[in-house]
C-alpha cells in the first residue's frame, strides 16, 4: 500500500495556511478546525493562523479533553463533536417563507445560496460519512435541493490520520485511517524527528490548480514511505474495532433481546449520539407564523429518533420506551441501513462513544449481539 499511484507532492509546514489563502482567493469560503470551548469544532477560517496547532485530544467513552502538545503539529487531534454535515445538511434550514394573499398564500423567493465552500481537514471517516449522506440525499430519484446546493462544488481538503483517537474504530469499518479517494487534496502530516512537512495527494484537477499556487516539490520514494508509515501508525494504535460481518443478521434476529433493556437502563435518551453522528440524517419539519399570522415559514431541523415525539402518530408515540428508541438507532445504523442504502450507516468515527454522557460503546453493543452474549430472542 503506497501513495505512489497518484500524483504526489511535498509541501512545507507553512502550506496549510497557504492552501487556505489559495482557496480564499479562488472564491471559496473555507471551513476548518478551530478551538472553541475546549474542543475542536468546524468554523470559518481565513488564514492559517486560525488553525489549531499543537493540540492533541484524549477521548474515551463519555470523555473528551483537548490538551496542548509540544510538537506544534497541525493535526495531532482527531474528530471533535462537529462533523461536516453541519454545512452540508445544516441543523436548521428555512425551506420557504410564505405570505397570506387573500384566502390563499404565496411562496416568497428564497435568498440566494452561499458562496462555494472548501472544507479543510476532512478526515477519512468523514469523507466516508459524506459519501453516505450523498447516497441518501442525492442517490434517489429526487435529490434534496438543500443538500445538493451545499454539496455541489464543495472543495474537500482531506487529512490522513496519523493517530487513532481513543474511541476510533474506522479501520474495522474500512473507512480509514487513510482515504484513497473522495477528496480534492489529501494531506499527510510528517512531523517526526525535527521534520515538519506534508505529503499531498492530488485528487482532482481543481485540487492541482490550488496546489500549483503553493510552493511544492515532487515526492520521493522516502516521502511516500514516511507518509504510509503515518497512517500505518494510526491503524496500529487503534484500540477499538467493530466486526461488521454478520452483524445485520444478528441484530435483526435479536429485536426482542433483553439486551436492549440492559442498555436502555444506561441510555439517557439525550440524542447526543445522533447529533454528533456524521451520517445521522433525520430531521423534523416545523411550520411557524409571525404574530400577525400573515407570514409563515417552514423550517427543517435536525431531529433524533431518541425523542418521544419522533414516532408520534395520533394516539401516541410508537416508540415509547428508551429501549425501543435505542434499538431503532442501533439497528438502523448497523442493519436496516444496508437494506435502504446498500452499506453500513456507521463509519467508525467514534463520536457517539465519546459524546455519550453514559459512555455507551457501540462496538461493545455490536459485539454483544454478534457473539450471542445477547440472547437472540425471547419467546
Amino acid at each position: 500500500m503506497g501513495f505512489s499511484e497518484r500524483e504526489t507532492l511535498v509541501v512545507d509546514a507553512n502550506a496549510p495556511g497557504a492552501i487556505v489563502s489559495a482557496l480564499n482567493r479562488a472564491g471559496f469560503e473555507v471551513i476548518g478546525p478551530t478551538v472553541e470551548s475546549g474542543s475542536v469544532v468546524y468554523g470559518p477560517i481565513s488564514t492559517g493562523e486560525n488553525l489549531p496547532r499543537g493540540f492533541t485530544d484524549t477521548q474515551e467513552p463519555g470523555h473528551y479533553r483537548l490538551n496542548p502538545h509540544a510538537d506544534g503539529s497541525y493535526f495531532g487531534y482527531v474528530v471533535g463533536p462537529h462533523s461536516w454535515k453541519r454545512y452540508l445538511h445544516p441543523p436548521a434550514v428555512r425551506l420557504f417563507a410564505a405570505r397570506r394573499e387573500g384566502k390563499g398564500f404565496a411562496l416568497e423567493a428564497q435568498p440566494q445560496e452561499a458562496p462555494p465552500r472548501a472544507f479543510f481537514g476532512v478526515r477519512p471517516c468523514e469523507l466516508a460519512a459524506i459519501a453516505r449522506q450523498d447516497r441518501i440525499f442525492l442517490g434517489g430519484a429526487q435529490p434534496d435541493p438543500t443538500y445538493r446546493t451545499n454539496r455541489e462544488g464543495a472543495f474537500l481538503v482531506a487529512v490522513q490520520c496519523g493517530r487513532a483517537g481513543g474511541t476510533c474504530f474506522c479501520a474495522s469499518m474500512g473507512t480509514g485511517p487513510r482515504a484513497a479517494a473522495g477528496f480534492d487534496l489529501a494531506l499527510t502530516e510528517l512531523s517526526d524527528g525535527g521534520r515538519h512537512e506534508f505529503v499531498v495527494e492530488i485528487g482532482s484537477p481543481r485540487g492541482r490548480d490550488i496546489l500549483a499556487k503553493v510552493p511544492h516539490r515532487l515526492a520521493t520514494e522516502d516521502d511516500l514511505n514516511a507518509a504510509a508509515a503515518v497512517t500505518a501508525r494510526a491503524q496500529a494504535g487503534m484500540g477499538r474495532s467493530l466486526e461488521a460481518e454478520g452483524l445485520p443478521k444478528a441484530l435483526l434476529a435479536g429485536l426482542e433481546s433483553p439486551r436492549w433493556e440492559t442498555t436502555a437502563a444506561r441510555c439517557l435518551s439525550c440524542a447526543n449520539c445522533t447529533m454528533v453522528c456524521p451520517t445521522c440524517f433525520c430531521t423534523t419539519v416545523e411550520d411557524t407564523t409571525d404574530l400577525t399570522g400573515d407570514h409563515a415559514e417552514r423550517w427543517r431541523r435536525w431531529d433524533s429518533c431518541f425523542t418521544l415525539d419522533f414516532s408520534y402518530i395520533h394516539g401516541g408515540a410508537v416508540r415509547r420506551t428508551t429501549a425501543s428508541r435505542y434499538r431503532q438507532w442501533l439497528t438502523h445504523k448497523f442493519a436496516t441501513w444496508f437494506e435502504q442504502f446498500g452499506e453500513s450507516g456507521c463509519v467508525g468515527c467514534g463520536r457517539c462513544i465519546t459524546w455519550c454522557p453514559a459512555g455507551i460503546d457501540v462496538t461493545e453493543e455490536a459485539r454483544a449481539f454478534r457473539t450471542g452474549s445477547a440472547p437472540k430472542e425471547r419467546t
Binding site: 418521544l308 395520533h314 401516541g316
Partner: protein, 159 residues
C-alpha cells in the same frame, strides 16, 4: 317435502362431524322454532333452559341500559345463541331479540345436559364446540373493548 329435524341439525355447521348416533341423541332435545321481528328469543335474568341454532334470520344480543337496550353483537345464519344452559346457575346474562323473521332450532338445556352426562364422548364433542364459540366471542369482545376506532386516548403527545 318436509325435512326432518335430524337432517336440519346435521346441516348446521355447528354440529358437523358428530356421529349418527350422537346426532340422533341430540335430535331428541331439538325442536323447530320461529320468531317474528322484535320477538325475544331469551330474556336477561330468566332461567336458561335452551339454546338456539339460527337456521335463517338475524338476532341481536342485547344488554339493557337506562337509555334503552344496547346491541352487543348480531348473529346470523348458522350462529349459536346462548351458552348459559351449560354454565351454572343456568341464568341468561343477556337478552336476545329477533331482528327480522328468524327460524331456528331450539335445543332443550336440561335434555342436552342429561345426554352429555350419559355419553361423555358426546359431552366432550359439544364442550369443544362451545369452547371454540366462547373463545371466538371473547376475542371479539376484547377487540371491541380496545375501542380501536375511538378518538385518540389522552396518552402520549397530542398534535
Amino acid at each position: 317435502m318436509t325435512t326432518s329435524i335430524e337432517q336440519l341439525l346435521a346441516e348446521q355447521p355447528y354440529f358437523k362431524g358428530l356421529s349418527a348416533s350422537q346426532l340422533a341423541a341430540i335430535t331428541g332435545c331439538a325442536k323447530n322454532v320461529r320468531f317474528e321481528a322484535g320477538e325475544p328469543l331469551i330474556r336477561e335474568g330468566e332461567d336458561a333452559n335452551e339454546f338456539f341454532v339460527i337456521r335463517q334470520g338475524k338476532v341481536a344480543l342485547e344488554a339493557s341500559a337506562p337509555a334503552g337496550p344496547i346491541t352487543i353483537q348480531t348473529l346470523g345464519d348458522g350462529d349459536v345463541v346462548g351458552w348459559s344452559w351449560l354454565v351454572q346457575p343456568h341464568t341468561w346474562r343477556f337478552g336476545a331479540i329477533a331482528m327480522g323473521l328468524t327460524r331456528a332450532i331450539s335445543l332443550d338445556g336440561e335434555c342436552m345436559r342429561r345426554k352429555c352426562e350419559e355419553d361423555h364422548d358426546l359431552g366432550f364433542e359439544l364442550l369443544k364446540r362451545f369452547s371454540f364459540l366462547i373463545s371466538e366471542r371473547l376475542e371479539a369482545t376484547r377487540l371491541q373493548l380496545l375501542d380501536v376506532y375511538s378518538p385518540p386516548p389522552a396518552r402520549g403527545l397530542r398534535r
